[in-house]
Structures are given as C-alpha cells and as structure tokens.
Point group: C2
Chain length 512, copies 2
C-alpha cells in the first residue's frame, strides 16, 4: 500500500513536462456543465409527496404581502386574493405557469466562453452571498468588507477554472448610500470578471440606473438584451410564505429590463421554515413555485431560476449553520425537486461555519459541494470562499475552492464504462504479455490528463519530499497566489473610453 | 441570510442544558449501520458490463502464484490449473461460490454493543492501513510509528461514537521481530478497545499463536469461535491477477481458526491496475471473486468481506494518492458492485494526501467518506486518521474524523418524508396562527436532538463570539482532547489476571 518504488525517470520527466503545458478546453478533465444526477436522496414517491404538500400549502395557506402590482399580475391569471390579504394559488395555475416557464436558461458571460447553459443535470459552481466581513487570514481577523474586496474577488474568480460565475459574495460596506453601493457592486464585479454575474438591488428605483450602466457596458440596450450577463438575485419571499414587497417590485423592474431572475427563497430550517428537511423543502418549493407563477404572469417564459435555498440552523443556539450534513441534504433534496419540475434551479452549498480556512472548513465546504454536484444542481451558489455561516468571505478560501470544486466536478463526471475503460485487453496484455504493470501502457499515458484532476494547491508529496521542501504551508502558498493575481492587471478591465464614460455618468468608488 | 436576531433566551438555556446530557442510543441522530445506497455512480448496465468483464478476466487470464494448497482447494471445485501456472475460474464456479458465500456477516465486538452487522446498504466506518509514520502535529514531524501509538489509537477509537471498528492503522516499527509485532499488535488493539478489530499476519506460522492469544482473551476457543472479535485483513492477491502465496496460506489458517477474512485487493489504478476507474474496478472485482471462490472452496459459507480496495495514483509522479475525486469514485463504484453480488464488502475512503490536519485534509477526508457512505459501502476502511497517502497516521485527525464521519452519517441517514416531516399542519399553524416562526414549535424542539448532528470540535460561533473566545484553534482543542483521553485509564484494559497470563505466555512490549 506504499507508493511504488519502481519509477521510470525518463517517463516521469516527460510526463511532468507535458503536464506543465496548459490544457486545452477539449481535454480538460472537468468543466462547467458536467452532468450530475447519480445521487438521489428522494424517491419518486418522496418527490410526489413534497410536490403535493407544496401545492396544498399554496392553495390553503397562500402568501402575504404581495405588492399591488403583483396582486394584479397574479389575480389576472387566476390567483385568488383573500380577505386576509393572502394570495392563494390554485393547482391549475401552478401547472399552467410551469408549462410556460423557461426550461433552458442560458446565463451569458460577457465573454461567451463563460456562458452557463442550465438544463437537466448540468452543474455549475460559483460564489454568492452577502457577507459583511472580509476574512484576513494573516491576522486571523474579521473586518468590514469593502468594494475593493469585492472587485478583488471578481478578479480572482476570473482566474479560476472551476468557479463558473460570480454572484456578489459580500457587501461593500464602505459605501453608505444604497444606490451607490448597488451600482458600484455591478461596476466592481464587471470590471473584475467576464464571467456571468449575479447581484441584488436594495430598491426598485435603483434598477433603471443599473440597466443604464449595463447598457453602456454591453454597448447598447439591444446588445444587453441579447446577452444579459448580469442576473438579479432576488429574495422575493420572506419565509414563511410572505412576499417581500419591495424585492417583488425590484423583480418586476428586472423582468421588464430583460434581466434573468434568481427566485431566491432563503428560509432557515427551524426558524423561518420547518426544522425537518422535508418540511423545509416543501416550503421552499411552494415559495419558488409562487415565484414561477409571478414571473410568468409578468412575462411568460422569462428566465427565472428556481432558487430553493433553505439553510440549516443550530437549534441549540438558534444561530445559522451552513456547514452541516443537514445543509447538504437540504440542498441535494432541492436539486431533485428542480428536476421534478424540469426547471433550472440553484441552491446553496460550500458554506463553512469555520471562521478560517482550516480542516473544518475543508470538510464542510467539500461535503455540500460534492453532494450538490452529484445531485445535479444546476447552480451551486456560495460554493467557494464563504465562512462563519455566510458572515465572512475569504479570498484564500475562494482560491482553494477551485481545488475543492475541481475534485467535486471529477466526482460529478463519474465513471465511464465502455470497452476501452473496462480494459480487458489491457489487463490481458499486462498479465499475460509480460510487463506486469500498467505504468507505461499507452492506455495509461493517453488518459493521464483527460481523466485525472490534479490539484493546484493540494499537496501530494511524500513525507520525505515534503520535509525537503521545508513543509510548505497550504495557506501561505495560497496567500502568495492571491498576491500574484492581484498584482496583475485585471483581465476584465473596461476599455479606457468606456471606463471614462461610466465614471462620468456614475460615482464610481473604485480607483481608476 | 444572517443569523436571526430574535432569540428566546429561556428556551435557549433549556435547550443547552438538555443538550449537555448524553444522548441515549435510541435517540442518537446517527449510529453504525445506517442504510446508504441513494448514490449510484453505476447504471444497471454498467454493473452488468463490469461483472461480465471480470468473469472474462477470471476465465481467460486467471491468477498466478497460488500456493499448492490453494491450487488443490480450487481445482477440487472446478477451477482449471493451466500449464502457465495460472488458475482459471469458469463462470459456473463463480456462480456456485457466490450462491454458497456468506451474505450476512456479523463482525462481533468484544463488547456486543459494538457488533457490526454487514448486509444490504448498512454502513460502518473505521480505521485501517499500514502507516509507517506517526504524525506529530505539534512539531509538524513524521516519525516512526510505535506499538504505543497503535495502542493509543485503539484507546481513542474506543471513545469515539462514529469510529465503529479498529483495523490496525499503523505498523509497530519499534518491534523488529515480525511474529512479536503481529502478536503485540493484537494485544495493543484489544487492550485499547472492545470494538471489532482487524489485523494482518506476516507469516502463516504466526497464526496458531495468535489464535491462542485470542482464545485466552475470549475465555476459551469455543467463546472465540462464537464471537470472533478479530478479523484477518488479508492481501491475498498481488494485483494484477496474482495470488499472494504466503497471504493465501495465512488466509487458510485463519479460516480454519474461525476468523472472518477481509479479502483485500489493493491495486493501484495506473500501476498495478488499469488507470481507468472502470478497469480498476473490473480487476478488483475479478480478484475478489477469485477470493470468494477460494474461501468457499476451503470452507463453504465462511465469512469473507469483498475487499475491493483500488487506490488512485498521481500519474505525473507515479506516487499513490488517496485524497482525490478519482479515489472517491473508485470506492463508491466498488460499493455498488458489492450490492450487485449481495456480498458484504469494504473499500478505502477518508484518506488524506495532506501531511497535516489542514484544510486540504478536511476536504479530502470528507469527499470519499461521504460518497462511500451514500453509496452504501458496508465497511469504510481507512476512514479516519490517515495522511500522506497512507504513510502517516495522526491521532488528532482520528479524533476529528469522529466529527467528519458523524456528518457523513447524517447524510447517509438522508431525508425522511412522512406526514410529520412534510409539516403542512405546522406551516399552516405558523403562517396563519400567528407566531410567524418555527423556533418555539413543539415539532422543532422535539426533534432538535434526534434529527441533528452537532459537531464536537467543529466551531459554529459567530465571528463576535469567536473573537470573545480568543479565536480557539481547531487543532489545539483536539490536542487537549487527545491528552485527556490518554490520561484516563484505558476502558478496554484486560482483567489483571488475564493480563498476567498473556504477559507470561507472550512477550508483550507494552508496559503493564
């Protein structure tokens, strides 16, 4: 069980050299959009029961606090507005809305190579959240997160193959005016990455200016509408079973502006959702189905992601926890329900409760990320960088997330079974033909790159090599890589003329 | 998405107090033998193809290097011994052997509460391996592992709910005589834990003395045979497709002595097995099926675990790697094949390539452990404490493994869907009845212990609480716990009279 001692040094050197060259897209072992779905925590009957219970909840309990515009949209298509101020949604309306809902959503990147095609079991990982702290790994400190931190997260994301999109992971707390914060958030993200971006708006009245900025970046409204590279992460409900009045108005404005919407239901199991995993999923499904009804009442077929994001709670303290097995199950169960409806969906995974990138953070981030991937979740949000149960974001952890998610994606890719991989001929040749091992076979060498994910920071040296290398510290290596990335010129930086236009039209807080 | 600010301090104190009491077995959220199986990396067709290819390999390639006794046993039941010295096994013989093979294996603990009942998708986690180093976390050093280290690992295992068995994880390198090493290994393990133990023997001639020791510990041969609390981890093949002559003789001696056998095929994908996941599984399955034929030719129905343990290799260097996604897939795919045959099986998971219990170790150990559990692997070996691709064992990591595996087991337990967990009535009551949240509901409080796994060392404090606690370091906390456990009297220590008898009969290196 020890490492084999027979090594063919010539072959090793050749392999190392060939490995040093960057891999072209077609032979990369993992990529965005690999198909998951081999992990199914719910049976068909379980899913049917969750669906039926969600329909009961929509019909019998309904939703409070819809804005007047939403009441008008939804009652026009068949929802009932009750004397108790709740919108109740009959089953037939849910079915009609599902029938017209967008089933294949493309979330464009500003660079088309980063387009995300959401359907079936295709899996994509990215950031998200609203952390209020930045984790300073060197000083083991939590400090307020800033616009520069956000921009840096975008720049780092641009460099990481396995972080497929950037939803705003933290709040620019150095900008006190909400409108300026929302607009600068878009600027800081877009100036840092050409991958798809997700963001929120505090107030519906901020949306027109945001759209103006996006039109300028896109090179015109038509170009923006053709490839909307920013989507609206929208907490349209306040669980349990209440619409978030202003967020709904934001949503309507975004729909009219051609921006894809993430229908985000972020209940906390045990506080704002039932404590049971099944119950929390039922409520999240009911809420997101209401969102589908709402969106399709405003504009049939508008791209809307089914964002069932139930979070876990530590019932001993009432505090949120995102690093648990219960969280991983909540997320994977939701992914199966998205498939049940055939609607692209997203949920949260990869959250660490740990305050720092330590062993706990490693096991927490892997557990839910790999289970989300295996369940075929289309959009895995919060997948990298998140600590302290979403309160802190960490650039070093984001970079390590690329290794974690690379490994999770390898698991999602799964086991290929065909004549070549079953390898009977190769076994025969090796055993009966002579060499007795597979190290040098063509089959082994030809697949060494396209089958295997090699970690960038994960250390695989032997104890002896490790000691000779002076026992490299994982976090120190990552700090150096972060500094390297941030010392380079941002890859997504705007054209200087566009940048000048943006800066004269908007109060951009990021230094030019 | 932040932690809820409304907390009911009275309820919180009550919950904290009730939580401080130890949980009785029946309401523990997780336990040994939970049923996995919701994750299926292989389709039915994939399994059928792997099976057919393995049968082809057994029939067409066969196995070299069987001892004469093994040749005699196997040819007597229908295997063919060829001119090239290889034993070839026809399909019909495989089918006959599978029909008579033991399908429900109980691996007893010395204490019956730790009995492991292997069947179906029941999952158990434990240690294993043959590490030659002990990881000194304080000094970041790798040093030779000793008998005391092994005994300490046994004592720690005894205290950890989620480590269900102790297979010898490291080699007592301070004992130079192989026979004394093997006998002292049994002594050191049994004196440390009353859980089921797995061990190896260097030479068949050592087995009689080992059995004598076990008879003494059990209180007689009949008592030993009734409840064989030690099993033989047996590398009966040297992949590819060769019997390990001496290990086979050890196996025969163990079978005659009533000791359950782990049929361990430990190929390395890319070196001693095909580099493809499917091919490595094919070869491991063929080898373990040969083991099943062998065991059942010696003694029909003797308990033998299907130990397909293919390991991963870093093809850039030819060195073993166990922390990869490929490893997790190898193990999960094997678990499905065990189910295909209806034979209890085991494989390796939880291996870290990292040298220390850092973030890398966390993500590596969780990835394969949770996937092994979800795939319904009966025996998850190497699940805790293993570093440096199996070269180093770490007591601190073993203790943290209890948290990791507790979380993995919560995932294995899965999502219960019934009227109570679907919670429609509760949602109605909360939304329409008034309180608007679930924190205080009977349903929430009644399930807070039996539904939720709370980590022992995993930290869930807020950044503020964490700072007030002076930023506790995960590893420092675990070092203290290790010292606490090792300062206590060993829970499994032998009765003084028995100990004296063992010490006068055998040269026990462990201080009395």
């Amino acid at each position: 069980m020890n490492a084999p001692t027979s090594r063919r040094s010539g072959g090793r050197a050749a392999r190392r050299a060939s490995r040093a060259a960057p891999l072209s897209q077609d032979i990369r072992p993992v990529r965005a959009g690999l198909e998951g779905g081999t992990y199914k925590p719910l049976s068909e009957r379980d899913m049917q029961r969750i669906h039926e219970t969600a329909l009961d909840a929509m019909e019998q309990i309904g939703f409070a606090d819809a804005p007047q515009s939403g009441i008008d949209y939804m009652t026009a298509v068949g929802a009932e507005f009750g004397n108790d101020g709740r919108i109740r949604i009959p089953r037939a309306l849910v079915e009609d809305s599902l029938a017209m809902a967008c089933k294949d959503i493309t979330l464009p990147g500003r660079d088309p190579q980063f387009d995300l095609r959401l359907s079936g079991n295709r899996v994509h990982f990215g950031t998200a959240g609203a952390a209020v702290h930045m984790v300073d790994v060197d000083g083991k400190e939590y400090r307020d997160s800033t616009l520069q931190d956000l921009h840096d997260a975008a720049r780092i994301t641009q460099q990481l193959d396995n972080i497929h999109f950037l939803q705003r992971p933290m709040v620019a707390r150095d900008i006190l005016d909400n409108k300026e914060m929302d607009l600068n958030t878009i600027y800081a993200c877009c100036a840092g990455t050409t991958k798809h971006i997700g963001t929120s708006f505090t107030d519906p009245s901020f949306v027109p200016d945001a759209l103006e900025m996006l039109h300028m970046i896109a090179g015109g409204e038509d170009k923006w509408r053709e490839r909307p590279f920013v989507s609206n992460s929208n907490c349209f409900v306040v669980p349990p079973m209440k619409f978030a009045t202003e967020s709904c108005e934001v949503m309507e404005a975004c729909i009219h502006g051609g921006m894809p919407v993430l229908l985000l239901s972020a209940g906390m199991a045990g506080a704002t959702a039932p404590s049971t995993i099944a119950g929390a999923i039922v409520q999240a499904v009911a809420e997101c189905l209401a969102g589908i009804v709402y969106v399709n009442a405003v504009k049939p077929g508008h791209p809307a992601i089914f964002g069932t994001w139930p979070f876990g709670l530590d019932l001993r303290t009432g505090a949120m926890t995102g690093g648990s097995g219960e969280q991983a199950l909540l997320t994977a169960g939701c992914a199966q329900m998205h498939k049940f409806y055939g609607i692209p969906g997203g949920a949260a995974a990869g959250i660490a409760d740990s305050k720092l990138p330590d062993m706990q953070a490693g096991w927490e981030q892997m557990c839910s990320n790999v289970m989300a991937g295996l369940s075929g979740l289309n959009m895995v949000y919060e997948a990298a960088g998140m600590h302290a149960s979403l309160l802190g974001f960490c650039h070093e952890s984001l970079i390590l997330g690329d290794d974690i998610i690379g490994q999770a994606l390898r698991c999602v890719r799964g086991i290929e079974v065909d004549d070549e991989t079953l390898a009977l001929d190769q076994i025969k040749e090796v055993c009966l033909g002579g060499t007795g091992h597979y190290l040098g076979t063509d089959a082994t060498l030809s697949r060494m790159q396209k089958d295997h994910v090699y970690p960038t920071f994960g250390d695989r040296t032997s104890p002896k090599e490790w000691a000779e290398l002076d026992k490299p510290d994982l976090i120190e290596k990552v700090v150096r890589r972060k500094e390297e990335i941030l010392a380079e010129r941002a890859a997504a930086r705007f054209d200087p003329m566009l940048d000048q236009q943006l800066r004269s039209r908007f109060n951009i807080h990021l230094p030019a």
